[in-house]
């Protein structure tokens, strides 16, 4: 049932994939920033992430590198398959939650705070290792109910403006809101360097902006609603290439 609904959006009359990354809705100058690692400000975070990868932390005084070795090898493809099922949490979790779980259980360290420079740096660094690879979200009987929940959130009218994600991002994508093209909301490049933030931020930060925009009370960072929604959005973008770390206006 879910796959049929997604196919209706994803494929035009001739079976062509009509999905487009937010990259294609940007100006040439912004795209040039993303394409050149020497101009992409998110690379500053990637380099910080690379340093953090090797930094010993916590009561175990271990670094990511101690277990995972060289990230270019061990992390290849990892970001492309998150959110993913986690046995300990007994639900799908996103990459930040996975990193923090490692931090607490393996390193014996405090989890990183939401939107902290450290966690964004590690997300950018780990995500970078999947750049160019197709997003692949594995869905089985355990994941299915959370995917369904995420889909319901995407289609639910919310807030004072009583709008659902699907109305802008499916029905009106390509048209303009306040003079700015509405993209299709495929989170292919997170964490992104958003020019509006002058900083790197997570998908949840962007979703909170959207919820504020429709005058809805945003979910708290890390809320199960957000992770379900991230799961649905990444599943909806499956097959599209990872662009992490992307630049967005």
């Amino acid at each position: 049932m879910l796959s049929v609904a997604a196919a209706a959006f994803a494929h035009g009359a001739e079976g062509l994939d009509t999905r487009r990354s937010g990259y294609e809705f940007m100006s040439a100058e912004t795209r040039a920033m993303q394409d050149d690692d020497l101009l992409n400000p998110a690379m500053l975070w990637v380099l910080d992430g690379e340093a953090l990868w090797r930094q010993k932390a916590g009561t175990n005084q271990s670094a990511c590198a101690d277990c995972h070795g060289d990230a270019a090898g061990s992390m290849k493809g990892v970001a492309a398959r998150y959110p993913a099922w986690d046995d300990r949490a007994r639900r799908p979790i996103n990459l930040q939650q996975r990193i923090n779980a490692c931090r607490v259980s393996r390193q014996g360290a405090e989890p990183f705070a939401d939107e902290s420079r450290e966690v964004l740096a590690l997300l950018a660094y780990v995500g970078r290792q999947s750049r160019g690879m197709p997003i692949e979200i594995a869905v089985d009987a355990r994941v299915e109910p959370f995917l369904k929940s995420g889909r319901e959130l995407f289609f639910r009218r919310q807030g004072q403006l009583n709008l659902a994600c699907t109305q802008c991002h499916d029905e009106y994508s390509g048209k303009k809101l306040a003079g700015i093209p509405i993209p299709q909301a495929h989170p292919t490049g997170y964490p992104i360097y958003r020019l509006e933030w002058q900083s790197v931020g997570s998908l949840q930060r962007r979703l909170r902006n959207c919820m504020n925009g429709i005058r809805a009370q945003p979910y708290a960072y890390g809320a199960p609603e957000f992770v379900d929604l991230e799961l649905y959005l990444l599943w909806r973008a499956r097959g599209m290439k990872v662009e992490t770390p992307a630049v967005r206006p």
């Binding site: 020497l38 400000p41 690379m43 500053l44 380099l47 002058q198």
Partner: protein, 106 residues
């Protein structure tokens, strides 16, 4: 020290024009923004960027609050001799950052 990325060609022919790209991590707080409670967020910007090629200054810039965060400078120079390019950023509150790169000129 905040992260800096500099790109200088590793080698060049004598007399060749080379392009140098630099980027440094800095919030570049303008001093015009206010918090939700109306309190001014104090100015905190980089004010100066200098590049020296084997000790001689080849590029200098003065920055003002209009420059966005994580400033990028791209400029050209002529490859004259092998050696080191040094980059220095200075700013408010005693901020400094440095980077360097070497070039072989044949």
């Amino acid at each position: 020290m905040s992260r800096a990325i500099v790109n200088v060609p590793s080698s060049a022919r004598r007399g060749e024009v080379i392009e140098i790209k630099t980027m440094v991590a800095h919030v570049m707080e303008t001093g015009f923004r206010r918090t939700q409670l109306g309190v001014v967020i104090p100015r905190n910007i980089i004010t100066e960027f200098v590049c020296r090629y084997n000790g001689s200054e080849i590029f200098r810039a003065t920055l003002y609050p209009a420059i966005a965060a994580n400033p990028v400078f791209t400029f050209t120079t002529i490859a004259t001799e092998s050696g080191t390019l040094e980059f220095v950023w200075r700013g408010d509150n005693g901020y400094t950052a440095t980077a360097s790169a070497t070039i072989t000129v044949t």
